[in-house]
Amino acid sequence: MIDIKNIAKTFGDRQVLKGIDGCFEPGQTSLIIGGSGTGKSVLLKCMIGLVKPDAGEVIYDGRDFLSGDKDLQKEIRREMGVLFQGSALFDSKTVLDNVRFPLDMLTDQSEEEKLDRAQECLKRVGLENAGDRMPSEISGGMKKRVGIARAIVLNPKYLFCDEPNSGLDPLTSIKIDQLIKEITDEYKVTTVIITHDMNSMMEIGEKIMFLYEGNKLWEGNSDTLTHSNVDELNEFINANKLIREMER
């Protein structure tokens, strides 16, 4: 479980996060939604330690990630898997080496064990035959799947996905969502996803947090998403023509 308490962050004279609280449960896909520039990615970066918040706490199963204890931070980071918006695959390595990379760096497993595990993860995302290809030779959807394989290769307890559907066609988006949901259920991972995608919200939004101008305005799930009294949220979801038509 991940608890965030009163997370605040200011860049220059602009306060991006104004004291966000929340709780993300294991085995659940939690979505953070909101318009561009509302602080979603900054919140995610605060949670994974890429941005240091000005105030607040991030608690991973009772362990304070921001306490300043470097060893504890390292330990928690090794329990995380992160899928970046652009997949962040290493250009100079093959798909298989990308997936193997965390095993090479962070474990003492034998070469055979590492190879088996990397291939198992590639198979899990349906790319068992793409191991020898370079990231520049595969499509955007395949890159996302390789990113997921790399994120889960160390059996993470916490999985973070920054806009996993950005730049993908609707069909591939659904496949990526299903894959993340299956992994979350299968391994009881605490999954946090940043998204704008309405399909994702409706399909895998077991818990949804809506951010607006650095504040958390609403929390619920896919069932309650379209029945809120929050004008900003209604405006956000009604921007989607499909939802408007569904409501009519």
Partner: protein
């Protein structure tokens, strides 16, 4: 300006803290040696051969006094190659080739979140990515400069004898005349310092890129210009300290 210099020294500190296992670096250093060293042989060889040739012919053109022996031409080519042309000019060429490559590679990794990916795995990204480049540069630049000095002197020999400005015997005698072995030590000390400056300045520029493709291009340009400025400044300081 002072803030940037301070940032640079803090950045240098991060290279040596929380390092990964030595085995990891060994493999990366070998890869970088191939890229930085072997990949630069052609350009360094070409530039220095011609520089040696030009130095020989121009020196001969300027030595019109019949009382000055012709073997002085070879002595001038030898000393200017070993003391200045091979180390300084080669490192300026390498700042263009290796420095821009380091800055471009790291800058692209930064904007495509590859460095963030390393950080969230708990890996010290600056140490993992940059330390092998610095070590490889410090190892390979001196080897390239030794080759450069040899080819510069050889270029002078070929040009001088083909142009008829000096005979092979006079050239060889000039090379042996008043030779001071400390010149080679001086050149190698300079090269190690230049290698460290080029690799760390370029890495600093690339690693701290913020923005997109435009900023990566700017970082590559800054890496080359700042490295060249650092090389000529360090050249003056080292010459003052070691040769006076």
């Amino acid at each position: 300006m002072l803030t940037r210099i301070g940032d640079y020294f803090i950045f240098l500190g991060t290279l040596f803290r929380n390092r990964e296992k030595m085995g990891v670096y060994l493999r990366l250093i070998i890869d970088e040696c191939m890229s930085i060293g072997v990949g630069s042989i052609f350009i360094v060889a070409l530039v220095n051969t011609f520089i040696g040739a030009v130095t020989c012919v121009q020196t001969a053109y300027n030595l019109t006094n019949p009382f000055v022996p012709k073997n002085i031409i070879a002595l001038i080519v030898r000393d200017s190659s070993i003391l200045e042309l091979a180390p300084t000019l080669s490192c300026i060429v390498l700042a263009g080739k290796v420095g821009s490559n380091i800055a471009g590679e790291l800058g692209t990794m930064r904007i495509s979140e590859q460095i963030d990916a390393l950080e969230v795995m708990g890996i010290n990204s600056s140490s993992y990515l940059i330390l092998p480049k610095v070590v490889a540069s410090v190892l390979m630049f001196p080897l390239l400069v030794i080759m450069a000095a040899f080819l510069s002197i050889l270029g002078g020999y070929i040009a001088g004898t083909l142009a008829g400005v000096i005979s092979p015997e006079e050239y060889v005698s000039g090379l042996r005349f008043e030779y001071k072995p400390f010149g080679v030590t001086f050149a190698l000390i300079k090269t190690v310092v230049f290698a460290f400056l080029v690799s760390t300045i370029s890495a600093y520029q690339g690693y701290n890129v913020k923005g997109g493709a435009l900023e990566v291009g700017t970082a590559s340009t800054s890496a080359v210009t700042n490295s060249c400025i650092a090389i000529v400044a360090a050249d003056f300081v080292l010459t003052q300290v070691l040769l006076t």
